[in-house]
């Protein structure tokens, strides 16, 4: 007896309701808007005023573009922009080269490599403010370790923290110490992503080591290295903690952008001016963030194609 075979219906999954969808993402997004977007608008608004940190709203005057004019004309601000640019350029370049060299050295596995790498990662994860005050001991001209190791302590040694030429170099040194592992880690990932068979093909074609490096290794690492440079640059532009911990907010030789804003707004009580200056920097940072995300999309598309 043949029974009618009725195919069982596969139950369909209901598409999620709007409420569900937005319910999941709303809390986070609302918080971010409240704490980032509104303050940005507020900063924009007060940058057109002469608000000081203790004035009430009623007493605030509208000064229109004065603060911005001041930002572009005041030599102190120009100095801090120069300091920051110099710092960022030097720090990122040195970290990139050192980090990449380290990654090249650490590429081949050896016993204990995991331990060595983990230890090398530690400086990257430490608090800049805390380490800053600690490096004071090392860099102090009179009893600092660095000068003693170099064999020149006492009144003749280079005064890392007092000599105005050396101050920025000190900050640079500490930053390189902290962030080279960052570049190294990303460089290693980049190096490991190059498929073996390309090297084997090059070997068959009897390419020299230098050619291999120049034509294969470097170009294939370039995308991830660029990513690393982007990330590190955006972070370096924000440099604040280290300078504050080691030099304080008032030293013109090492005032990076954020430190200058702090000095103007928190020590000088001039929130309006600080706001204008901050907004100018914001534009630059947003530009970098845009490049970053577009670039991420590009890399992930490439990775997707490579894997396919």
């Amino acid at each position: 007896m043949t029974e009618r075979y009725a195919p069982t219906r596969v139950p369909r999954i209901k598409p999620p309701a709007q409420l569900t969808k937005y319910g999941f993402i709303a809390p986070a997004i609302l918080l971010l808007i409240a704490f980032n977007v509104f303050p940005l608008f507020y900063t924009l608004v007060i940058s057109f005023t002469d608000m000081k940190s203790f004035t009430k709203w009623e007493k605030v005057n509208w000064v229109r573009g004065e603060n911005y004019g001041e930002t572009f004309e005041n030599p102190d601000y120009a100095q801090s922009i120069r300091t920051t640019a110099l710092f960022v350029f030097a720090a990122v370049s040195i970290e990139l080269i050192l980090g990449f060299a380290l990654a090249l050295a650490l590429r081949e596995p050896f016993r204990g490599r995991g331990v060595v790498m983990t230890i090398l990662m530690i400086p990257m994860m430490l608090s800049q403010a805390v380490m800053g005050i600690y490096w004071y001991v090392i860099l102090n001209g009179n009893y600092g370790v660095l000068n003693q190791v170099l064999g020149i302590s006492g009144p003749d040694g280079p005064k890392w923290l007092i000599d105005s030429d050396l101050k920025l170099i000190s900050i640079l040194m500490i930053d390189v110490w902290m962030w080279t592992p960052f570049m190294m880690l990303i460089s290693l990932a980049a190096l490991n992503s190059i498929p073996r068979h390309i090297y084997e093909a090059a070997e068959i074609d009897r390419a020299s080591r230098w050619t291999v490096f120049r034509r294969i290794t470097l170009p294939m690492c370039a995308p991830l290295l660029f990513l690393a440079v982007l990330l590190r640059t955006t972070d370096a532009l924000k440099q604040f903690d280290l300078v504050m911990a080691l030099m304080g907010p008032d030293d013109p030789a090492t005032q990076t952008l954020s430190v200058k804003i702090f000095q103007v707004a928190m020590r000088g009580w001039n929130i309006g001016q600080g706001g204008a200056f901050a907004f100018v920097i914001l534009i630059a940072v947003i530009a970098m963030a845009t490049i970053f995300t577009r670039y991420i999309g590009y890399i992930q598309a490439r990775q997707g194609r490579a894997a396919a």
């Binding site: 999954i13 569900t20 969808k21 319910g23 999941f24 993402i25 809390p27 986070a28 918080l31 704490f35 980032n36 303050p39 940005l40 900063t43 940190s53 050192l98 050295a105 650490l106 995991g114 983990t118 230890i119 090398l120 990662m121 530690i122 400086p123 994860m125 430490l126 608090s127 800049q128 805390v130 800053g132 005050i133 600690y134 004071y136 001991v137 090392i138 370790v145 003693q148 110490w177 080279t180 880690l185 990303i186 990932a189 690393a228 924000k238 604040f240 903690d241 504050m244 911990a245 952008l257 954020s258 702090f262 707004a265 901050a278 940072v285 947003i286 970098m288 845009t290 995300t293 992930q300």
Partner: protein, 287 residues
Amino acid sequence: MKLVRWTIIVGYFFLAVLPLVWLVLTSLKSEQDAIATTMKIFPGDSEPGDKSMVFRPTVKDSYAKLAEPLPGDQEPFYFFLWNSTIIGLFSTLAAVLLGTFCAYGFSRFRIAGAQDWLFFILSTRFLPPLAIVLPVLRMYQQFELQDTHLGLILLYTVFNLSLAVWLMKGFIDEIPRAYEEAALVDGYSRWRAFWKIIVPQAATGMAVTAVFCLIAAWNEYGFAVTLTTETAKTVPVYFAGLQGRPTGLPWPRVAAGALLFVVPIIVFTILVRKHLLRGITFGTVKQ
């Protein structure tokens, strides 16, 4: 070539490790040894001018004194450590929870303008804290949140949200949809499926994200220095504020405090070493 390679590795290793080793050694010295002009590598409770290299660590000037406030301060180191701990833990909890919800939404649902939203979320992490802290300061003064634990917890939660969302999205993307779909077919609601299926699978991811958020909150200085004065002051603000004191600092004590502060970070770093690359690139590059 091999020689060059090993020179680089060993050389850099020493350079990287030396400051940390010095930190440990300083925390074990007596005060006069710590600032001796002739370098004393090993701590030894001795007369000035004694150049012996006998290893005699002492904690009497360092760890033992951590419970006392520094001259001129009101609170000892442990007070600030407690602040950092409370603020760090609660803000991490909130950030990971909210971040996971948000990441799940972006990972599984088609949301209009998702790329733009994700860009917005990421860009909040790129902002220099000083650029948005001024309005936040005024806002906090208004709501009496300034210098409170809650104020900083709230701020750190938001600050870490972008990291949490991006990291968790990476982790949740890796969980096959089949599991929740099976549950949904069986009649689970999205909410229940989320808690019963996704969360257990994403547990490692949540732990890793929690570690990175905790480290970020622990180390944070920019917001803390502008928004706290006494009650909610965290350790980084305390330490950075030590700079520029006219009377010299008791270095062994400072070193001991710094070490205590830094040890949890080192432990956590070792725990998540397999995910470090992901953590520092916001989840975009996997190890």
